[in-house]
């Protein structure tokens, strides 16, 4: 019968006008924009990182400046007195019964807030030396917009300074692990055979370690008295060393499936070199997936830093990170009596949440069917 092998001409059912005309990444941006929560998370993170860049300028005090007159000092009240934005001096008394410092606002002694004042010296963007700070009060007094800790250190200043470590450490750690994971995963998936086998054995071994104990023991092995920069760097390496294996496995899987795709075969047939095939076909195709996995790994890495610092194995005082600050907030007493000590926790939650929302949105935008 003649008709057996016949088929109707296939016309594509739906032709949304622009498909095929706008580049893939623009479609992704469109899909991403649809998720309000993810866009919100992105904006929160942009603001946070912007604040981090200006943290020294915004912080009124050096993060370790002690002042026993302000131990457990409450957040400063701000009012307009005589047409000037002012705060007030505090009177400190000791409640001998409960062994607590009590503070009374001295309304007769208003302290006008001064803007663009000279303060401690820092390097703006780690390059330009400066002493300029956004605000302050006259010498001998302190303004603690977000309260002070047990030594009278300004919580706002510490939060700002802490952001320099907390917002970058996890990020850098993930970037390093993404780089290692992508290279190893691509090599493993592309070359296969003995190389793949060897790499997989190494990954299997690394994954046989429960990660938190491994994390702890590596952190415990860090030199105690190294400068902050060195410690920062080493913790980043630890995060990367532990984190890359999962990513390498995922990249390997992706690369393996793309390697068997027709366009790769076509490229091989056309005489494409390994380098050409990897950089032109495999990496671009896996890139979106790598970015998604990376974004979703950052909040976990930030959490790891906090956990380490909380346990006293991560960033150590006198340096400050949000984890170090959370360590000060671990007693019930601190939280119930001085609730502003919980601020670093709040900031941390907002950051981590924003990263999750962002990563979720990117994943949905990149691969709507995943």
């Amino acid at each position: 019968m003649a008709v057996d092998a016949t088929q109707l001409p296939h016309t594509t059912a739906t032709q949304v006008e622009d498909v095929g005309q706008i580049p893939q990444w623009q479609l992704m941006v469109r899909r991403f924009r649809k998720s309000k929560l993810s866009v919100g998370g992105m904006y929160v993170l942009i603001v946070m990182y912007a604040i981090m860049l200006f943290s020294d300028f915004l912080a009124p005090y050096e993060h370790n400046r002690l002042d026993s007159n302000y131990a457990w000092g409450p957040p400063s009240q701000v009012q307009i007195v005589d047409g000037k934005l002012s705060t007030f001096a505090l009177k400190q008394t000791l409640d001998t019964e409960r062994l607590q410092w009590l503070y009374v606002v001295d309304e007769s002694n208003p302290l006008p807030i001064q803007f663009f004042v000279q303060g401690y010296e820092y390097r703006f963007l780690a390059i330009f030396p400066s002493k300029l700070h956004l605000f302050g009060v006259k010498d001998g007094f302190q303004i603690n917009l977000l309260g002070a800790d047990k030594d009278g250190k300004d919580v706002l200043s510490r939060l700002l300074k802490g952001s320099q470590i907390s917002l970058t450490l996890g990020f850098v750690g993930v970037v390093i692990s993404v780089i290692i994971g992508s290279i190893v995963g691509t090599a493993s998936g592309y070359f296969g055979g003995a190389i793949d086998n060897m790499i997989q054995r190494v990954i299997e071994l690394l994954r046989s370690f429960p990660d938190i104990p491994l994390f702890l023991s590596l952190a415990a092995a860090l030199p105690q008295n190294a400068p902050v920069e060195v410690r920062f760097f080493l913790i980043t390496i630890i995060i990367a060393v532990i984190g890359w294996t999962g990513l390498a496995r995922e990249v390997r899987g992706k690369v393996m499936s793309y390697r068997n795709a027709d366009y790769t075969a076509a490229s091989v047939a056309a005489g494409g070199s390994h380098w050409h095939i990897i950089t032109r076909h495999l990496i671009p195709n896996s890139l979106s997936h790598i970015i998604v996995v990376g974004t979703l790994a950052i909040p976990a890495a930030i959490g790891s830093e906090t956990a380490l610092s909380f346990l006293g194995l991560g960033i150590l005082p006198p340096a400050v990170s949000w984890g170090v600050m959370v360590r000060d907030a671990q007693t019930i007493e601190a939280i119930t009596t001085y609730p502003w000590m919980l601020l670093p926790v709040l900031v941390l939650i907002i950051t981590v949440l924003s990263f999750y929302l962002l990563g979720d949105g990117i994943r949905d935008a990149v691969d709507p069917y995943a």
Binding site: E204, L205, S208, F209, P210, D211, I212, P213, L214, L216, S217, L218, A220, A221, P223, P299, G303, T306, A307, F310, L311, L313, V326, A329, Q330, I332, I335, T336, V345, L348, I349, V352, L353, Y356, L357
Partner: protein
């Protein structure tokens, strides 16, 4: 099947040997020895330790042995079932670890059961009621669960429990039961102390698994065989619970392998806050005090737990999904 398990077990032993070697190496990395830590403590208390006594202690603990000798000594003793004597307390390492590990395992098992019992039904509900208010609420709670660290949650619950319910939550038993033998009253007291720990431990994992369950079920509900099942005239509940859930449950089964050990060690911070006598804080103390026999043994045990968990998960997966062949 048996062949497969045997091969996996052999592989596991090889991995454990490698883990013990590397782990032991990392653990002894920090400069100084347990003896230094102890001697420093003694000197701080004002006691002076004579030189020859230090020498004798060094000899006894073998602190100056080369790494490989220490390692072999440790392995040899472990193989004989003697996990060594902790430098810290002079107690048998094995005894101390078992006590703590059993508390950890118990807590984690309960947390795991809780996680499954909660995340599967909620994930299913959320997926079958997509874009409704309850679904949004569940999604919101999930994100909170992902973003709020466990120890903080522990802290918050601790505050509420002590402030508003007048309940003692820290530790594992109230002081009056401390030295009593196990009884119903003591058990109830324990339950009273531990439910918060279980809840806190399970919260983060539950949030994660609910998300996974929801996403997978949504995928599975688009499959053709779900329409086939409906076309047979099955009730929607049967379609979902018999045909959809079983296909969506893979990642949950796989998570069993990593979740159990993760819960066991993940409680380190929670235990710190709730002062629970579990393995996490013990490991931490051992690391801090450079008690490498204790730390090394715990690390290897946790690693074994992880590997066994993975094997069990793979076996369970093969049972759930006939397409997976164990080879």
């Amino acid at each position: 099947m048996l062949n497969y398990i045997a091969r996996r077990l052999i592989n596991m032993i090889v991995l454990l040997v490698a883990v013990s070697f590397i782990g032991f190496f990392i653990i002894q990395l920090p400069p100084g020895t347990i003896l230094d830590v102890q001697l420093q403590k003694l000197r701080q208390m004002g006691g002076d330790v004579p030189r020859d006594q230090v020498k004798a202690l060094e000899l006894r603990y073998g602190v100056n042995d080369p790494f490989i000798v220490k390692y072999l000594k440790w392995v040899q003793r472990s193989a004989e079932g003697d996990f060594g004597t902790s430098y810290l307390t002079d107690q048998s390492v094995g005894e101390r670890i078992w006590g703590r590990l059993s508390v950890s395992l118990g807590l984690s098992l309960f947390a795991l059961i809780f996680t499954w019992l909660v995340s599967i039904p909620i994930g299913v509900y959320s997926a079958t009621h997509r874009y409704t208010t309850p679904d949004y609420i569940v999604t919101f709670i999930q994100f909170i669960g992902l973003a709020v660290p466990g120890f903080l949650l522990a802290l918050i619950i601790l505050i509420f429990a002590t402030r508003y319910f007048n309940q003692q939550v820290g530790g594992i038993n109230s002081s009056e039961f401390m030295d009593q033998p196990m009884s119903l009253a003591k058990f109830m007291d324990m339950v009273n102390h531990l439910w918060i720990a279980v809840l806190v431990l399970a919260f983060g994992a539950t949030a994660g698994l609910t998300r996974i369950m929801r996403a997978n079920l949504l995928d599975v509900l688009n499959m053709q065989y779900i329409q086939t099942a409906r076309a047979k005239g099955l009730d929607e509940a049967v379609v979902i619970w018999k045909h959809a859930v079983r296909n969506a449950i893979h990642p949950l089964v796989m998570s069993l392998g990593t979740l159990l050990p993760a819960l066991v060690v993940g409680e380190t911070l929670v235990a710190q806050v709730l002062s629970l006598p579990t393995i996490g804080p013990m490991y931490l103390d051992a690391l801090r005090a450079e008690d490498m026999y204790l730390a090394g043994t715990i690390l290897v045990m946790l690693s074994a737990l992880l590997l066994i968990g993975n094997l069990l998960a793979d076996l369970l997966l093969a049972w759930v999904d006939p397409r997976i062949r164990l080879e």
